[in-house]
Structures are given as structure tokens and as C-alpha cells.
Amino acid sequence: MGFPHPPHPKETVVLSRYFGDPGARSYAGWVQRGGYEGLKKALGMTPEAIIEELKASGLRGRGGAGFPTGLKWSFMPKGDGKPHYLCCNADESEPGTFKDREIMRWTPHALIEGCAVACYAIGAETCYIYIRGEFTEPLAIMRAAVAEAYANGALGENAFGSGRRIDMVIFRGAGAYICGEETALMNSIEGKRGNPRIKPPFPAASGVFGMPTTINNVETLAAVPAILLRGAAWYKALCLGNPKSTGTKLFSVCGHVMRPGNYEITMGFPMKELIYDLAGGMRPGRTLKAVIPGGSSVPLMNREEAETALCDYEGIVEKGSMLGSAGFIVMDDSADIVYEVYRLAKFYAHESCAQCTQCREGTAWTTKILERILKGEGKPDDLDLLVELSDNMTGKTICVLSDSCAAPIVSGIRKFRSEFDRYFEKGVRELAP
């Protein structure tokens, strides 16, 4: 639901049902709306049964990678005697993505409930909710909600009388893009510089403080209570044909559309309808040029690809990109692809943690080349160089920030070559008419 817009009839509102409803923020209001029933039900189930239910639901990670959630939870060791941790990734720093923010703003207890279920299922007593440093309003709301949940016995040493201890710690990030990467986030929680770690070891073996850890995105965790209450079969049925991508998902749509905002649709929903119907389509007289669907870290899609793609994990891969965080950056024909690609590269150059050579130097160098092209001083050879540097930056580093910088560059050159050529020919930036 693209609050403040009313829900579009084609939306399937589950997560976003109470977006825009301030009454849902309080503990009492949330309970009134059927909240915390999922957690109560979970506490009466065995952890194994919860995990099986999630596996059956087909829920996949909503942070970008799309890893099956039940499977991830099942990786946690059993009976190892070590403290287990849950990390909730609320860093949402991906450009063009603003879905987790809305979940925390409007339905903080949905997230707390999901986190508590996860803690119970993976044998964790402590959950860290890592909130992006710039999210001041969601932070305040989450803090208040956690305090309320403690006060009402949903959290604490005996959650809902289950005998299980579930603690929740709100951890505020300091404003680094890379701290949304799961292992960098863990380093940040430990008080270290937010550098991604080498995997293996994976978090389930050695995560935060070296202990078995599960890390999930806000949207993933918030989706859990409803699945337990309404059943895996219900959730799995919320898909349009592709059983690998199930349930509903929030799509953040921004850029050159008439109604930017969050839209909750079932997986497999046609992208064309999302852009033209739900988000209101292009501005008058404008036509669609490109979409970056997964935040900014995935290849660009051209108009033909975007208008034929289905919005799920596989559907977008089929059209040469990735779903990622489902933050759609929509560009109409007034957009200058060279400039957009440059702007993204500059972002990655600024946010590179500087560990890996290819990323530290490559993001900065590609930015300089693009900057020079924009100044009208580029050479056609620059494009070959950009593609080669991008290749050297892809699949060779600890995390995928370097790959994320390369993806829009390479796809931009491949799919919008003529826009680059215009700079070589005319030598100046062509402003939108």
C-alpha cells in the first residue's frame, strides 16, 4: 500500500494492511487487530514444527538474496550449548528501497512478533534489531514498541509465560551502506568497523560474537506471524504460478512514476501492471526507459524487459536482472542513463569499505571514467575499459558491493550504448527536454 495512497484493488495487503493506521502502533492496538496471536501459537509449537511450517510456506528472504527462510533457520546447530542470536537487518540502506521503514513506522509489533517467533525457533534468547542510523522516526517507534512489549510480557525472561527468555536489543547503526551486508552488520554490532567478513564460516556457525546466528530482513520476519496463524498452504497459494516464489511482497516504487510508494502484491505479479496501474504510470507525455528493480545493485532493465517481466525472484532473473530488495527505480525518457549510472557508481565508491582491492580502487576509478564521459571528454575506448574493469570487480571480492557497482555499469553500456555514444559525439550532457 503506497501510503498515503489508499490500497489499490490489485494489491494483496497482508503486511501493509495497517499502514497509515496509527492505532496499530501501540501494543493494545496491535492486539486488538489480532496481533501477538502468531507468537502465542508459536510458543505452543516445537521449534522444528515452526521451521517445517516456514519451509512449507516457501517464504524466502526479502532482503535481496531470496534464500529460503525455513532452510536458513534449520542451519542453526542444535544442542550445542552456545548462545544463539537473531539479528534483524533493519539497515535498509539500499537506494530506492523503503519498505522496511514503513513496517517499522506503522506496524512495529509485527516485526517484534516475528523476531520473537524466530528467536524461539532458532533457540536464541537475544535478538538484535539493527536499525539504519538515518531512520530516526522508525527508531523512536521501535524503541517505544519494544518497551511496550516488555511491559506486556511479550518479551523478557518469561515471554508470554512460556518459560522462554526472549530479549530484544535495538541497535542503531551509524549510517554506512555496507552495514546492511549481514556480516558487516555483525561486526558493527560487536563494536568493530563494519567490514564484511569472509564466508565461510557462515553466520549459522559463527555469527555475531562468534556464536551461531540467524540474520533476517525486517520484511521476512514481519511475514512470519501471519504464516503461522493462517498456515503455510495459505501463504504458498499467494503466488501467480511460480511455486518457487510465494507469498506477498512489498515493492517500493520510486522515480518517474505518478504514484511512488510501497505496493504489496503477490509474487509473480506483472511488472507492467505494477508500474502502470498501481504506481500510476509515467508522467504525461513520457515513456518508460529503464527500471532498476533490486534497489540499485542489479542490472538495469530496458522498457521491453520491464514490461514483460513478472515480479518474482525467477521472473526478473529471466529478464536479465534480479529482484534484490524490490526497490524499483523507474526512469522515463527524460533520464540520462550515463548520468544515472555515474551517480550509482559514485555512491558505491563512497560506500566501499576499502577492504578488497578491486572494490576500493575499482569503484573510484569507474566513477572517474564516467565523470569524464559526462564532461564530454570521454573516448569510445572508455566503454571497453569500463566493461573490463567491471569484469575484474565481479565475483572476486568478499561481499557483493563491488559486483553491485559493476552491474548497473555493464548493463547500462550493453542496453543503452547509444546514450554513451552521444556523449562521445556531442561532447556535452544532453539535458532532458
Partner: protein, 533 residues
Amino acid sequence: MSTDLVNVTIDGVQLAVPKGTTIIEAAKQAGVLVPHYCYHPSLPSPAVCRMCLVEVEKAPKLLPACVTTVAEGQVVRVMSEPAMKAREGVLEFLLINHPLDCPICDQAGECELQDYVFQEGRAGTRYSDYAKRFSPVEDFGPDVLYVPNRCILCTRCVRFMDDVAKTPVLNVSERGDRAYIGIDQDERLEHPWSGNVVDLCPVGSLISKDFLHKARAWDLDKTASVCPGCTQGCNIMIDTRDDVVVRLRPRANLDVNRHFICDTGRADYRWMNRGDRVEVPLLREGGKTVPADWDAALGRLADAVAGATGRIVVLASGRASLESLGWVRRLFDGHHVTAAIKVPLGGTAPLPGIPDLALRAERVPNLDGARLAGYVAPWDEAVSAMEGAALVLLLDVALEDAEVARLAGAGSVIALASVDDERLKGSALLLPVSTMAEENGTYMNRDGRVQRFTQAKAPPGMARPAWWIAAEAWSRREGGRVVPETAALAFAGLGGSIPALAGVTYADLGVTGRVLSGAAAAWTDRPAGTGAR
């Protein structure tokens, strides 16, 4: 030691290595050096330089050899096209902001960036149109300068201070290509082992002030030696230029000092270059000191020993080799001998991250070797014993004025000395000896490990190793018995008197030494007329 072996093939070489071995270490055993920067065998591996990427069959992408452990049946390609292309890419990225000031860089000639670029880097630049990053040189500590322009952010220095020195004062500051090695506010690199960051730095970014612009790496002669600074016995390289020692550096010995030496040991080399040396044997004749050739001097020494009736006192330097201590002691076989070494004391400084590695209080390298060779008298007792002694022999030991004054009570004084000392001019014999930097020999460290050091520079004038002088005099006393001509033979000859050394040769000691069993057994005199070859 794990007995589980894993079979791997690295660049066509099949070998079996213990389970848990990293690819980079397995490759070393296969004779393949995987290019690397951030990896160091004595530091934790962050896998950040991405230089050691290798192709592993069935892996979807290239893997960092420094953190990937071997698996059964694994086929690794280090010199394959994808791996080499990836490394070429890393080298290009490392060079875009590198100043290429090799002509004025101390690291040139021993720089891993130079080496790998030469080996597999691109010939030309594709970055020529942009300015390189520039940051001024920073003063990190008493002996360390940081040149950020040359830095490749491998973070070896940061990890050394964090994980080995356990004094985390260095960090990576800033992000992206603005990143540099920072030092915490109001901190300096003053840890007593911090000089190691200079050796660890694979490029010329962390450099030693002491060595700054002193020599080009290719002009240096590098000699394997043992630090004479304390009983730890760290393995070192003595680097000389034109017969002048210009720096000491650690030499790897995983059982003694891994890859490190302390700053005290590192800085203590200037005495090796002293010019005020005894260069000629000097005899005391008719109240005058006259120069002599070795034949005359050795004859005089043999006579003095033969004529000595009564107590003999030997005061030796703790830097004297096992060979010298042993042969001097043998010269006096059959006499009543009080022998001691002087052991200066100082503070200790452990390196927390490495077990059993510290700058030790006893600032001599051969304390245990001296005990083995019978130099067991307490120093003060030995000094007192000079009163009324028939003969006192000084083995290159530095004496206090009060100790020199006590020499007057002895029958005759024979001084084997490296440094010219006015106070010893009255000795019956003053014989020039070489220092440990000028001879081959062995020390025994505090763990009973006998380690070789080798000759790094020429001794001045007629100076000879003390063991040679003692053996020659002994030969004269023994009626012309064959004397050892080399340090190796001198060492082999000690076995007769020191049971722990029996049958041990230089070849057995290798380059990292050997711990001897039964090293507590002391010197046994051999009756005259018997003995080693």
C-alpha cells in the same frame, strides 16, 4: 600434528598435505608461490587483497588461497588464465594510486608490488588521465614512518598490532579509495616490537627511519645469523653494505621467533661497525708493548698456559660462541679453572601474541651455551678469584674500571679483545679477535637450542676467532696436534668434552638449529694427550 592427509593437485603437482592446510601453504609445498599481499603466515588472514585468487576445479568462482583449506581430490590452478587475469586486475587497481617512486623508495628491490607486477602485471597504464591520490608522510613512531601514497591497505601492520603485539593502535581510517592506515589519537608506535611492521609491509609504505635512504636493497649482502641481544636467540639476517652492517632483520624460525624480532635487538648493531679495533697481536716485552705475528703470539700463549701453576680465571663475554668458549676452556684442561661469563641484565618485553617469545632479562645470547662449556662460576666470585690467580684470560669481555683494577692481583693477564682498550695495554698478551658478526659459530638459547650464525663481514687486520687462537695454542701445548681449521670442525671437536654435543655437526643444526637433549651436563676435562682430532 594431524595425521589425516588430503590429496590435492596444484598446477599439476600431486601431493598430500595435512587436513586443514590452506591452499596457499599447500602450494608452497608443491613449489608454487601464490602471489599474495595481505596473507602472512604469522598473522590471521583477512583475505582482503584478493591477490591470491586461484582457480579451484568445480568451484563457481575463484577462491582466495589464503583462507581456503584443501579438500580431498581438489585440483587447483594457480597459473591458469582466469586466475592470472584476476591477479592482473588486482595489480592494475593497486597501481593506479601508487606513486611509482621506486627510485627513491627504500623498499625497491625487495618490494612485493614490484615483484608481482614484473611477474604478471600489465605493462602500461590505463589511468594516465587522472591525478593519483596524495597524502603526506606521517611519523608513526620512534623508528617508523608511514608513506600513505605507497600503501596498498593490506592491513598486515594493523593485524600485527592488534593480534600479535596486542596493542591495537593502528587502524584503517576512512572508506573507499580515501582509506589509509591511521594511528589512534595521541598514540605512537612505541611497543617494543613495533618495528616489525616495517618488515611486514610488503611495499615501501612503512619504513624505518634508521635505515632511511641508507642503501639500495640490491647492494646489500644478507647473512643468516642469530641475534646476540638476549637468551631468546631470535634468528636474524645481518644486512651489510660494503662490509658495513646497515640493518638487522628477523629471519623466520617458527620455533623461536616466528617472523619477528624486538626493537632492542633490531637497533643493536652499531658495535659491529666499530673502528677502534685491536688489529695486531701485541706482546709485552721489557715494559713495552710490541706487535707480533701470530706464530710468536700463539707460542707465548702456549708457554703462559704451560707455565701457569695455580688457579686460572677466565672471564668471558656472553657473546662468545660455543666454539670459542669450548676451545678456550680446553686450552686449560687439567688446570684449576674458574670460568664465568658476564651477563648484563635489562627489562623484559614479551610479544603477547606469540608464546615463549620475549626480549629476555639476560642480555647475552649464549648463557646456556656458556654453562654447557663450564663457565659456571658466579661473576663476582670469578672476579674475586683473580686475586692471586696464576693466569687470567679475558675473552672479549667488557670490564668495569673496578674489575680492571682487580687484574693487578693476578700473575699474568692475557686479553683476547676485539675493541682497543687502553686499560688492557699492560696485559702480557693482547690478541685481536673477531666479533660474532665476523665469524661462524653457534649459540645455545634458553631452550637448549643450538643455532648457527654465519660470518657477515670481514674481521679487521689480523683478528681471528677466539676458538682458533685457543686451538692453536692448545696444539702447541699438545705437541702439534691437528687443530680445527673451520668453525664446523671446531664445533665437532667439542663433543669430546661436552657430552650433549657428541656426534652433532653443523649439518645437523641446519638453518633453524636443534634442541639438544641432556644439555644440562657440564664440561668434562680431558686429560692432556687425548682429545678431539
